[in-house]
Symmetry: D2
Subunit: 161 residues, 4 copies
Amino acid sequence: MFIKFLTAGGTIDKVYFDAKSDFQVGPPNILTVLDSLNLGFEYFVESVLRKDSLDLTEKDRHAIHATVTKDTADKIVITHGTDTMVETARHLADIKGKTVVLTGALEPALFKTSDAVFNIGCAVAAVQTLGPGIYVAMNGRVFSYDRVRKNVRLGRFEEIQ
Amino acid sequence: MFIKFLTAGGTIDKVYFDAKSDFQVGPPNILTVLDSLNLGFEYFVESVLRKDSLDLTEKDRHAIHATVTKDTADKIVITHGTDTMVETARHLADIKGKTVVLTGALEPALFKTSDAVFNIGCAVAAVQTLGPGIYVAMNGRVFSYDRVRKNVRLGRFEEIQ
Amino acid sequence: MFIKFLTAGGTIDKVYFDAKSDFQVGPPNILTVLDSLNLGFEYFVESVLRKDSLDLTEKDRHAIHATVTKDTADKIVITHGTDTMVETARHLADIKGKTVVLTGALEPALFKTSDAVFNIGCAVAAVQTLGPGIYVAMNGRVFSYDRVRKNVRLGRFEEIQ
Amino acid sequence: MFIKFLTAGGTIDKVYFDAKSDFQVGPPNILTVLDSLNLGFEYFVESVLRKDSLDLTEKDRHAIHATVTKDTADKIVITHGTDTMVETARHLADIKGKTVVLTGALEPALFKTSDAVFNIGCAVAAVQTLGPGIYVAMNGRVFSYDRVRKNVRLGRFEEIQ
């Protein structure tokens, strides 16, 4: 089994710069997480974007779409900022023959209390158990791209009834 | 969505007793993990056994079987020691109409480097995406109960070809 | 032995707000740290300010000075932002008969890789082993208030030769 | 400033071996801790022993004594198991002209909840602020070697009145 991980920035990759007293999107944390886990499958991590997801443009979403389409892998996990994760998922809806799972974190992966490792676990299981399609794995739930929204007030993704 | 978690001891729940310079199986760690995650589903944790999995007897496996069968939930995650996880999974093979996923950890959940949170994430996604059956989620892989073994030397679960 | 802890905000207490994609100074983290440590002395934590240290005004430093002076404790640890920690330390230089140690962190205490717990350890030892005076404990060094500066480029406090 | 760290095993360095379902004393964790902290002093870590402190013999204590005596450093921190830390400290009492601080942990350094990093912080501050002598830094207190005992029931070091 092979899983391709694409990273598109977002909270999961936020780091803190003391010199600026500021948090910014840093290099992907997911490789460190994966390498520490003695995993039973092959994987490769590729950084596509390094942005806050509120700053993603139409052009950025085209770049993600193109990267997914061109990739030879049929199991793809994308880490992405949570604010526009659903929007990007919808942008990928026309891709056929691949299982694509978007995930991210509500707290930076570097935080002791981050949900990042749990969410990556969910995405890794979902991408191998589900058939082709575009999915979002957040808050312990796996959603189809067209049945999910972020509830900003609760800080939680939920099903659209 | 509702997921029932049953705990059967094992490495995942090992704690350290300074007074005895010894590690023993403690109370389930999974509740603390789940409660910290702002999850988008209902769940309940029940402790069935608190043992090293090498010490599990036939009677213990009957107890696990009976608990799974009687439970009204159709999505059940069992945390279990890794040494005999596959044996217990096979013992549950005749249970129909439920999705049951066994998971655990190769390092205690209290360790900074533990695989516990990632594995629980995998199990939570697998139990909601898979149909009825008995599965093992370890090392980032989701296996059918009859296609998996623990490779003790590599510290890794692998598919039986 | 009794140690009074005063908190004045800074990086050590930064938290992340997903709703705003922003980091802000939150409630003191030090109480959680201290309570987890089974300490062999009495202590009390009091929040004086909750600000980035670059935003501290003359009035804020007067407030810290007044709180230290009025407090009946003779061993006081102050957690403080790093950018103006030395400035505040100098402002306290005229206080007699008390051992006061300022410390903080270059990464928020909630980060896995934070120096907060180590620095608090240094401050706790320094405040009980040193005589009256004003000190800064950072980067594993204990400095007199008039012999230290922050080297912003290296992210490290160093002795003034 | 230069600090020499000697490691003598104990709980602080306990690791977990899944293959044996067992905890054993592993290689020193202190180097990883120190290297992550951007410290403002020079240091070197040397492993003297790798044992549970209950298993230390008279010969082992001679080896620690000889290592401290021969070392050119005058600031030495020793990590040691807690059960016989005080006994070793007393064994070193005749060493003149050096500041020696023994510390350790009541939970392995690899545990999320370990006191190891805090205790090392205490020891690092104590070794640079105190004059020559043999000290124990545990539970946030710095004790002279002849005024301390471990209260096993409370899991805490305390002053002998």
